[in-house]
Symmetry: C2
Subunit: 369 residues, 2 copies
């Protein structure tokens, strides 16, 4: 595992690189901003972004109703750490995992998604065996074309089955439009969520017309949450990345009235070689960033471009007018995609005014199951 | 961390997904093939590919002279597990890391690269302080344009400084042409290594003409090792990925006389949703594969294409004539790039004839420092 890269009280210069650092002031402003803007609705931040109990507790302390996880094993980490309300925003199919989920539901308020009848039956059996109640949400495909039943009749049928299944409590709809989060133009995001919300609304109405209570419509992410909030149809919001932000979210063109979140997550890297005027090498490569959404970006150093990577090297292109780089010189890099980058580290170093304030363990790192 | 996904003796059907599995028969044939083909030269396999003590020991048992690591903390894991000859194929610049490297050199034969005078001085001081000897190789840029001094005079000057530095032992040149490993056409790879070998040869001759012994030229990777071997100039070969292979190496067009390595590494995944005839979702996404070299490929299931990913989902495009997929159905996927994919897991599940033979810990996972 990663060596603990610093200690509380260290100056930033003492942090061993590469390290994942959080500008804790920007981070806390992000938390406050989202908590303030969503007051009066249910905020259930997605913990897959940070996988960190300390951060989840900060979100709950600011009024979040619970957290989301993406995997049963993530949920196990958070429930084990005392978090009492966890929604697994995913289908769970494998019997061993369903059994573990039911056990978690003895200790905490646990929800899960369904998009197929066989899983409902298995969840119901497991809940009864564990003498627990599991909250169930029907996942509806509102445009992401990932998991989920079609809106309308298929969702009503599954809701009816969920509402009648012993050990389960049908709570409502999961209507996450994941494909809308990174649409670049603000009107694209607005239109995609308008469409998603219309589908969610029609489905909820069809379910309620069938005499089934559909209490909660949950969904939304960092790229679109404002639209879900404004739609009047979403009762609960699930943004995750807003705590950190990344290069890819930075590519979204904001709307005039979009709330801005600050970049709080950085990889701190050191120059390990300056073989030519136009090139320098840093100690953070393919194992220090996730590259699925593109290359990292050098923060606040004009003239430096992170141009390519190998396993443990990042090659910087140095502009002719950039100040020369020295061996051991350090810099911050913004990850292309925050969630899978966090999953590469065992520790987050929380820094304020160049001093290490806390070391947060990435508790659910690697919790794939 | 990852839950242990299986136990020795389990059938493959019992492995919890997503899991990283090794077809141990193909894997051992890969080890044998490389050991056989490099007999008579020094094979020093790169452990950054597997980060696994059990695998390093298998390589040493087949005649490897030692291993390569890419980071000081990786080296610490292997030395701590009893491996007695480790070359860190990288520059180490930060004083704390240099001090740790010197401490490792008390317990094992440890080498490191240099491409700048200040690091030499720091290494020398640290070696003296630890009463250890550190092997030093001058890294020469033979075409990769990453780290390394220019061939010829700059390398001679650094070699002279290394040869004269107390506590250090100048061993030779590191002449790794990383940019040649994934050139697609066989003649491109051959030409690139011919050029690299010519530069390495000229540099060695210049060093020896200066009266400095240049014992070892080390380098090579899975894509080109045969050419370095045939060149007559490389004394030591450092391939790593040959133990596993991946989609990206599979894109290299082989030469007629290239030795073939088999795909031994797979991510075992389960279908978690079949929302439409043309689409299925598996439980392995951006946190289960590294996507830097492209998407994973579904193994041995015609008609299934891994089309896109989100954090914990993989979307499969299902051809009209493909057999229908069922919930919970399992399949093997070939990672786009093996090294950073292995770094996402805590365990490798070694499987032979559908039975789990061993669980190998990815001991140096996350050892970024």
């Amino acid at each position: 595992m990663q060596r603990i890269p610093a200690h509380v009280g260290d100056r930033i210069e003492a942090i061993e690189t590469p390290a994942l650092i959080v500008d804790v002031d920007a981070f806390e402003r992000n938390l406050e901003r989202m908590a303030g803007a969503t007051k009066g609705t249910r905020l259930r931040p997605h913990a897959k972004a940070h996988k960190c109990v300390a951060i989840a507790k900060s979100q709950l302390a600011r009024g979040a109703v619970g957290i989301c996880c993406q995997k049963t094993d993530e949920a196990a980490v958070f429930v084990g750490a005392g978090i009492r309300d966890v929604l697994v925003t995913n289908e769970v199919v494998v019997p061993a995992k369903i059994a573990r989920l039911a056990e978690l539901a003895r200790a905490a308020h646990v929800g899960v998604l369904v998009d197929a009848q066989p899983c409902l039956a298995a969840l119901s059996k497991a809940a009864l065996r564990s003498a627990a109640t599991i909250d169930v949400y029907v996942e509806v495909d509102v445009g992401a074309h990932r998991c989920g039943v079609a809106p309308g009749t298929p969702a009503v049928e599954l809701a009816r089955a969920a509402a009648g299944a012993p050990g389960l409590r049908f709570r409502g709809l999961h209507a996450y439009q994941g494909a809308a989060q990174h649409l670049r133009a603000p009107e694209q995001r607005r239109d995609a969520i308008a469409s998603a919300a219309a589908l969610a609304r029609a489905t909820r109405e069809a379910i309620e017309a069938a005499g089934i209570k559909c209490e909660i419509v949950t969904g939304a992410g960092t790229g679109t949450w404002r639209h879900e909030l404004d739609s009047g149809i979403y009762d609960e919001l699930q943004p995750g990345s807003y705590v950190f932000m990344d290069v890819d979210y930075g590519r979204n063109v904001p709307d005039a009235d979009d709330l801005r979140f600050e970049q709080s997550l950085f990889v701190l890297a050191s120059v390990m070689s300056v073989p030519a005027d136009e090139r320098a090498i840093v100690d953070a490569g393919l194992k220090a960033f996730s590259f699925d959404s593109g290359l990292p970006v050098v923060h606040d150093r004009p003239g430096l471009v992170y141009a390519k990577a190998s396993d443990e090297h990042g090659v910087l292109a140095v502009a002719p007018d950039a100040p020369p780089l020295a061996l051991g010189q350090r810099m911050r890099l913004v990850p292309g995609h925050c969630d899978p980058t966090v999953n590469l580290y065992d520790f987050l170093v929380a820094v304020s005014h160049d001093v290490v304030k806390a070391i947060w363990r990435v508790d659910a790192r690697g919790a794939l199951g």
